[in-house]
Amino acid sequence: MRTVYMDYAAGKPVDERVLEAMMPYFNQKYGNPSSVHSFGNEARKTIDEARGRVAELTGAERTNEIIFTSGGTESNNLAIEGVAYRNKAKGNHIITSSIEHMSVMNTCKHLSKQGFEVTYLPVDRHGFVDLQALEKEITDKTILVSIMYANGEIGTVEPIGKIGEIAHRKGAYFHVDAVAATGQIPMDVKKENIDLLSLSSNDMYGPRGVGALYVRTGAGVQPVVYGGGQERGLRSGTENLPGIVGMGKAAEIAKAEMKIEAARLTNLRDKLIKGILDSIPESYLNGHPTERLPNNVNVRFSYIEGESLILSLDMEGVACSSGSACTSKTLEPSHVLLAIGLKHEEAHGSLLFTLGKQNTEDDVKYVLDLLPGIVKRLRKISPLTPKELIV
């Protein structure tokens, strides 16, 4: 059977060139960068090269502003907890949004039990953070503003530069969770007033288990992992050498190929969106039509539920996701879909396709040929569907 993988936000294959670059570092070049001898020197040099490549992707001025971590979740934990605890004397207020990733949401939730006050900014129906609310909520006690670069579920790309400006005007640090956007769209920490930026390796076809946090020189951050003082003391633990090499290579490839790949994916994305909305009655796009990640298609269908859509597509070889409660561990629908104002039953009927390197026009056509029939079948089974939709 034909398979079409359109769940790249959930996991991406490692690029062949990345894999090749990593291989020697498992069993041939295994020095510890903390060692004094030649093996150690070589490892140190290798890590710094990778650091340089990640720095280039972000626009960081200095290579040592990149701290390698175990992934996006750890980067977000380090940024938020690290700033909060280090700057407690200045204030206890943190501002974030209501559509952040759980690694931001739950870190903030944890901090609110430790004496910090957290404000969750509302978003509009497209998922844009309310800048007026930010202006209103930010005070001299605000030590950190943490907003995502782009939302991995609905694809909305936030006005990061403007948010950073507002944060800096009040003297707050600005952290950006760029995990979903990593390698997909260009970013520039200097121009966009970013003090801390979380990145993920797998999101740009690097290996899992490695990520990075950009920490602007002079930003006050305290570690969350203590030990031998690696990564400028901000992330102790022997470096994941093959992983870091892989992330460096992935960053190099992303920087070189981003423009062309983003254009290609945007074209596929728009074809898929248009095809769905044109061929299926009562189907709607979640998120913004243009200010969205090049690979993100999030749609919803009235009267049916997302998990049964996923199962139906899976039977035809198509892999995708949904914001339905029935696909989540907590049995709650996606907080992002609720935050943009969808009703629970609307959130249940959502379907998320995230495209990637291996997807083609044929894949889009395959999905467009299948989906109307699947939606129709499930609507026929549903007691909510109006009669006129199933004749």
Partner: protein, 125 residues
């Protein structure tokens, strides 16, 4: 995630549809929670002669609806009222633990339809 039996019933649900002149109708669940199920029954001589369903929900919700129609068809009302959520899950070779509560509504739907029938009949007397 699901047993082959669940997938079989999800792919080809049995007795899907409505009974326009049903003797009893039971609706359980709530679209807000993601599962809503309506069971239609025909009763003759205290037996379920026909049973159909319509369901909004996940794979488990659709499969359990299909399974309850198979388990209940031809049974007396007393026998049908004894069918439990556990019986439905067991007949499907089990359900993922997380689905046992939210999506395993079919037995409740059947019981609601029978209660509706008994109530209507009581009213006629």
């Amino acid at each position: 995630m699901y047993s082959e039996k669940v997938m079989e019933h999800f792919r080809n649900p049995h007795n899907m549809g409505e009974i326009p002149d049903a003797d009893g109708v039971g609706t359980v669940g709530n679209p807000i929670c993601g599962d809503l199920m309506t069971i239609y029954i025909k009763v003759k001589d205290n037996r379920l002669t026909d049973i159909k369903f319509k369901t909004f929900g996940c794979g488990a919700a659709i499969a359990t609806s299909s399974m309850i129609t198979e388990l209940a068809r031809g049974k007396t009302l007393e026998e049908a009222l004894k069918i439990t959520r556990g019986d439905v899950a067991e007949s499907l070779d089990g359900l993922p633990p997380v689905k046992m509560h939210c999506s395993n509504l079919a037995a409740d739907g059947l019981h609601a339809a029978i209660e509706d029938y008994l109530k209507k009949r009581g009213g006629q007397k």
